[in-house]
């Protein structure tokens, strides 16, 4: 230790202090960035060169090598009497290395015999069609295509003296396997759900709908980082105008990066300012498959486990797949429960405020005395109580989503029991209100659609304010506003209150569930090309069939659409 170290002990060594960090770039940095961007754009448009060394330099420039450690460039020689230099480029973590080793490197390096003197075109054809056993091999000629393929998980192989490259499908990144649905659980019905793997999701639909007319049109959205977007539909069933319109809207999405289907939904929905969802976002393959057969289309976005189905009707947002799998009385029963839950989740706190503040004469005297007694110690007005409890519930709900699962149940006990019980014991909240708020929460949790549950949660506060100002009258005005708003909302041109308002022909599957063998027509609200979806009364062996057939015949005679029948 010398005297310099001693000086550093007693003084501030400002040599370690960095220059102050600022986010805005300097003029020099801007010029450097624009030259890089210009070079990138020029590179992307350029054709792949013959010279492998030049291609290597271009790769280094595009992918910022060797700085970017994700991109791997493997130099090798294609075997044969006169070996040809080549290089394989892939992204570590996206590509399956086993496939690269066994389907690209091994065949080309070890198992190859070439004839010299072949032209370049024949040579790449030979390699593509005879040497590379990958299930999808594509020839690319521009750097743009090459870069896109590399970034999507394929391996691109460049050859010396050839101005094209071969892209081999080698996607194989780690992803979650198909598991139970997180937000749409059912008791009776399939339990699988979409995952973050794009092709797994489309595959789940294909496995259910083994139909040659099931079309998957794919595109990519995102200028900075491309995200795969697929539109699935059944040709011959769906109205072609719908597909044309959705493709038009997707093509108009010009963003740098599209992260999830939720963002895509906001880009392409009809009215972005409304509170009612215009898409059905679901993670259940069976719901999507059923929707496709009814004349709707589905949009899959990148690694999102939620598919978007449209056009959607408001009644569909209240339905679950389980309604169809149960017999019709039970399906109708649980639908009625859900409709009642919707009304409770939306209106119960508002009605409680209206009754206690403005219309106490409605309550029987004994109950009114009980309510008054329970509220005697509470120093706050009813509105304030309700708002406190609703806000607390929203806090508990949000905390419950983000809390680590290890201590989740513990916090649930804290929130539900201790806070509620403590609040009542302290005289801040009345016990009756705890019941009201709890029942309201149960009602809103019953909503099968996650987006619709948000609608209920948000609108509930509006109704609370309306009832606190004007009682039942305010609640009525609020309801009328909501009904008119819903009556004017459209999902890809289809009024969401169809087939009730406007009145459209439909099978008995709107609010209640009818008998499945009478549901012969697809929903006419979607204007499908093929309206008929099953044979008339598909129970010819059943005693119920003649009665149902007679009833249907009477209905058709009334509407003047009687068809000729052959004598049975």
């Amino acid at each position: 230790m010398d005297w310099r170290d001693l000086v550093r002990l007693v003084t501030v060594d400002d040599s370690i202090m960095d220059k102050q960090f600022v986010l805005t770039p300097s003029q020099q940095e801007k010029q450097r960035q624009s030259s890089i961007t210009g070079a990138d754009a020029a590179n992307e448009a350029a054709i792949i060169a013959y010279d492998l060394a030049g291609n290597r330099k271009t790769l280094d420039r595009i992918f910022h090598l060797p700085l970017n450690a994700d991109v791997v460039v493997r130099d090798f020689r294609v075997g044969g009497r006169r070996p040809v230099a080549a290089l394989a480029v892939f992204v570590d973590g996206l590509a399956d290395k086993n496939i690269i080793n066994t389907h690209i490197l091994e065949p080309l390096m070890v198992l190859t015999e070439f004839e010299n003197g072949q032209g370049d075109t024949e040579w790449t054809d030979w390699v593509q069609h005879a040497l590379l056993p990958g299930n999808q091999v594509m020839e690319v000629s521009t750097w743009k295509d090459a870069a896109e393929n590399i970034l999507s998980g394929s391996t691109v192989v460049f050859f010396e003296g050839v101005n094209t490259a071969l892209s081999v499908e080698t996607k194989g990144w780690e992803h979650r396997s198909v598991s139970n649905s997180q937000t749409e659980a059912v008791v009776r019905g399939p339990h699988d759900a979409f995952t973050e793997n794009f092709r797994s999701n489309t595959g789940l639909i294909r496995a259910r709908l083994r139909c040659s007319n099931l079309i998957t049109e794919m595109t990519q959205v995102g200028a900075l980082a491309a995200t795969d977007v697929a539109v699935m539909y059944i040709q011959g069933v769906v109205n072609p105008k719908l597909i044309k319109e959705v493709k038009r809207r997707i093509a108009a999405v010009k963003v740098d990066y599209l992260a999830d289907s939720g963002i895509m939904e906001q880009f392409i929905e009809d009215d972005p300012s409304g509170v009612i969802p215009k898409f059905l976002s679901t993670e259940r393959p069976d719901r999507v498959a059923q929707a496709l057969t009814e004349g709707q289309f589905a949009v899959f976005v990148g690694h999102s486990p939620y598919a978007l189905v449209a056009p959607v009707l408001f009644w569909s947002l209240l339905q679950t797949a389980e309604d169809a799998y149960l017999r019709w009385p039970f399906g109708s029963f649980i639908r009625l429960i859900r409709v009642t839950a919707l009304a409770i989740g939306l209106l119960l706190p508002a009605l409680y405020i209206a009754v206690t503040n403005y219309h106490p004469e409605m309550i029987p005297t004994d109950l009114m005395l009980a309510v008054a007694a329970s509220r005697e110690r509470v120093p706050f007005p009813v509105v304030f109580e309700v708002l406190i409890m609703e806000f607390s519930l929203e806090l508990i709900r949000e905390a419950g989503i983000r809390i680590p699962s290890v201590i989740g149940p513990t916090i649930g006990i804290v929130g539900a029991l201790i806070l509620g019980q403590a609040a009542v014991a302290a005289g801040i909240i009345s016990p009756l209100l705890i019941i009201v708020v709890a029942v309201t929460a149960l009602g809103s949790f019953t909503m099968p659609n996650y987006n619709l549950s948000f609608t209920v949660r948000v609108l509930r506060f509006g109704f609370i304010i309306a009832s606190s100002l004007l009682g039942f009258y305010g609640v009525t005005l609020g309801l009328m506003l909501l009904i008119m708003h819903a009556a004017s909302v459209r999902s890809f041109g289809v009024p969401i209150l169809s087939p009730i308002a406007p009145r459209r022909k439909s099978s008995r599957d709107v609010v209640l569930r009818g008998q499945v063998f009478t549901m012969e027509d697809r929903p006419s609200a979607y204007m499908p090309l093929d309206v008929r979806r099953q044979a008339p009364i598909t129970r010819p062996w059943s005693a119920a069939a003649p009665a149902a057939r007679e009833k249907r015949g009477r209905r058709h005679r009334r509407s003047g659409k009687m068809r000729k029948r052959s004598n049975d």
Binding site: V355, Y358, H359, E361, M362, P364, L470, G471, F472, Y473, G474, V475, T476, L477, L479, M480, L481, I483, M484, A487, S488, P495, L497, I500, A501, P502, R503
Partner: protein, 402 residues
């Protein structure tokens, strides 16, 4: 020679069932005001027949209008008048209709406001209730005919159910003997009041203006007949229950008939004092009635002046409604105005005038066709939709005079 017809303002298309529901709800909403009391006072035990007489007369008028307008497919009454008699005949007619609806809607607004204030919010200023009513009505009118008709259709199910409950639950108080004497003040009296009470029905006027908006015009007759018949039956049944619950002698003194009917409901300890629940019913009905009235005033005004849009007129018309509704000093003045002016004379503009205009237009058209002049279609070939929306071009052969 045909003058240029009024341009049609884009309103979208409405379905047959939706328009029927809208017409029915609009007319039937009168039962929540003082109409049952007034008619009960006029007809006593036979008052239930007065709406049936009115309905029959309105039905006849509608059938006449329908037969006349069939000669002019795709045009409403004002367009036909402007084409046959000149643009400057249609404008005062449009303004007259608009004025009638404006004043009538203002009166209805005041009546509903007084009902809500008296029955539910005695300490709240009327201006607050009127303002909130009109704000919602403005939103309804802004959303247009499609939204109005769909909301009316959706609401009609609750309306019929709620009305049925309102009529069934007080049946414990119903006494059929209170309907006697059966003929009331006499058949002649009933026919006379039935004639002037056609002021309650605006179906003829509305449908003669809204005819081109129907998605399927072949069902125009259905809309008019069903809405008129259903409204008349509803009026009649309400009067039967009202008279059987309250005596004819006292029924004329009941200011809010259906509210009083709701107040007498008592089916056990828990099913009583339900009048607050029925606030939902008549508030919702009032919003639809006022919204449609406001829309129609703006639409007629714009149509008369040949404007391409009516929406910019909604806010000023709403302000006019607000001001006009406060002109009568109190509720008895409102009732007096309604009984002295609108009921005795409203039918002249709302029922008789559209009928006469339709007959006159049909006669002129018939005479011109007889003389072989070009008529029956505008100068350009007509194209209009029918049924499922397929476009059909129907060019007419123009015959010249020999």
């Amino acid at each position: 020679m045909n003058a240029k017809r009024l341009p049609l303002i884009h309103t979208g298309r409405v379905g047959v069932v939706e328009l029927t529901a809208l017409m029915t709800v609009y007319s039937s909403t009168e039962i929540f005001l003082s109409m049952p009391s007034r008619i009960a006072m006029e007809g006593a035990g036979f008052a239930w027949a007065i709406p049936l007489v009115s309905g029959t007369l309105v039905l006849i008028a509608f059938l006449i209008v329908h037969m006349c307008l069939k000669r002019f497919p795709g045009e409403n009454l004002l367009q036909v008048i402007s084409r046959l008699f000149g643009r400057f005949t249609a404008l005062p007619l449009a303004l007259l209709f608009a004025l009638l609806l404006l004043t009538q809607t203002a009166l209805v607004t005041r009546e509903f406001t007084e009902t809500v204030v008296t029955t539910v919010f005695p300490a709240t200023p009327s201006a607050v209730i009127t303002f909130t009513f009109l704000l919602v009505a403005l939103y309804y009118a802004y959303k247009g005919l499609e939204g109005l008709s769909r909301t009316a259709l959706l609401f009609s199910y609750f309306f019929l159910f709620g009305l049925a409950m309102l009529l069934i639950l007080p049946l414990s108080w119903f006494d059929a003997r209170l309907l006697l004497p059966f003929w009331g003040h006499g058949v002649g009296n009933a026919v006379w009041f039935g004639t002037i009470n056609t002021s309650l029905y605006f179906n003829v006027l509305f449908l003669s203006i809204l005819y081109p908006t129907l998605r399927d015009r072949d069902h125009f007759l259905y809309v008019g007949v069903i809405s008129t018949v259903v409204t008349a039956v509803i009026f009649s049944i309400v009067l039967v229950v009202f008279l059987g619950t309250f005596t004819a002698a006292e029924s004329g003194n009941v200011p809010f008939p259906l509210y009083q009917l709701a107040r007498v409901i008592y089916v056990g300890r828990f099913v009583q004092r339900l009048e607050a629940i029925f606030v939902f019913l008549w508030t919702a009905a009032a919003v639809i009635k006022m919204g449609f009235g406001l829309w129609m005033v703006a639409y007629l005004y714009a149509l008369g002046f040949g404007m391409p849009l009516y929406r910019p007129l909604l806010a000023p018309v709403t302000l006019q409604l607000y001001v006009l509704s406060f002109l009568p000093p109190d509720f008895p003045a409102v009732l007096a105005l309604s009984a002295a002016v609108f009921e005795p004379y409203g039918w002249l503009v709302g029922v008789l005038l559209p009928t006469l205009l339709a007959v006159a237009a049909a006669l002129v058209d018939w005479r011109r066709k007889r003389r072989g002049k070009e008529t029956g279609a505008p100068r350009e070939a007509q194209t209009f939709r029918k049924g499922s929306g397929r476009l059909r071009a129907r060019g007419r052969v123009f015959s010249r005079s020999p």
